[in-house]
Amino acid sequence: MSTALVATRKGLFTVSVDPAGTPTIGEPAFVGVPVTNAVRDPRDGALYASLDHGHFGVHLHRSDDDGASWTEIAAPEYPPKPDGVVDVNPMTQQETVWATQLAWTIEPGHPDEPGVVWCGTIPGGLFRSDDRGDTWRLVESLWNVPARAKWFGGGYDEAGIHTVSVDPRGPGRVVIGLSCGGAWRTTDGGATWEIAASGMRADFVPPELAGDPDTQDPHRLARCASDPDVIWCQHHCGIFRTSDNGDRWIEIEQAGPSTFGFAVAAHPDDPQTAWFVPAVNDEVRVPVDGRFVVTRTRDGGRTFDVLSNGLPTGASYDLVYRHGLDVDASGEQLIMGSTTGSLWWSGDAGDRFELVSANLPPIHSVRFC
């Protein structure tokens, strides 16, 4: 039996798939409430969910009984902006409000640092908890990097951290991805940070700025667990891969129908294998020719399989958000949810997909647990 958390615009669903491949969707939690992200902490089994109430702000909840009950925990809160500090979004020329607009991703820390949980937010702050989310503190070393003056929103008005990739080689080594502000790396638990986006390319700025690592828009980063120097990136302007933990990103220029998309999943054991869900381009965020497919490379990005077995045969306009695709620890099971509320599962690395539901709310995030 495998299980996944499916965070949607109208609640959090749990999907179970039995050994025969038959899926079951459980009763939703937080029904009617937008759930941005949900994850299980493999160290203690706790579930975390971030809710975006819209009217009533961002609130985080934790469950210690597999979702039977939830307890509200603290939400990340920014400190007061110091007097005299000018913090202007370069794109909007509006003052950035130091307040959590979205808890975009929650990520358990390294197994050797129990209790540590990371939270990436909009407007661009990374938060760390040392007590399972009971308290949070802004990682000021990242918030205060001079390059933040160049960050701007991608999809939202303000910049946001959507990926916190914990390096399995030891605590304190983390790579984050943010839209728009590139990728950043720490090796000392967040005390210091360095940009890790060289080689990425942006076509939404003048050509002379295309290579500026500080303004890249990686939509999502996915690391190979067994070869942690390998990280895949679905970027706003294409697909990139690093084999040196972000020292240098290499662009993959061909990937089936399109290199535009939001989601990426990395095989946990094979650094040559990753999955993507393409759409036309920035201006037309629908499948190419209305044909919804998944692309998979098994040779480091040199060639791609175009996977469609079990996916819609007619015109389809599903888009998969950046947290909408996940692979399990075996590298064989995939789960994928779309903006039109369709959810698919695969038990054979995408050779065939099974439709779990076509009638869920728009799906923000899926995660095996």
Binding site: R9, G57, Y78, A99, T100
Partner: protein
């Protein structure tokens, strides 16, 4: 005494019963209320103390003016109503 009432939509998520608070400004009224019901604070105000963008606050039947400082005066007979603004709805 100002009677502070919250929309039913918020009562679903956090404890926020109607209560009477003696104070002469909205900031003092809400501060007094949140002493009694602290969990409700973060549903109405952000961490810098400003009214959340999609919250509507009425004092004496008028929408408040100072959404950051909450300096709007509260008269002896004024009631305070906290609603969700329709601008924040999600279909």
């Amino acid at each position: 005494m100002a009677q502070v009432t919250f929309a039913k939509a918020l009562q679903r998520h956090v404890t926020c019963p109607t209560a009477s608070i003696e104070a002469d400004s909205l900031r003092r009224v809400l501060d007094g209320y949140f002493v009694q019901f602290p969990a409700a604070r973060s549903y109405v105000l952000d961490e810098q103390g400003a009214v959340r963008r999609h919250i509507a606050v009425f004092v004496g039947g008028e929408l408040i003016v100072d959404r950051v400082g909450l300096a709007d005066p509260v008269g002896a007979d004024d009631d305070v109503h906290v609603f969700q603004a329709l601008s924040g709805g999600a279909a």
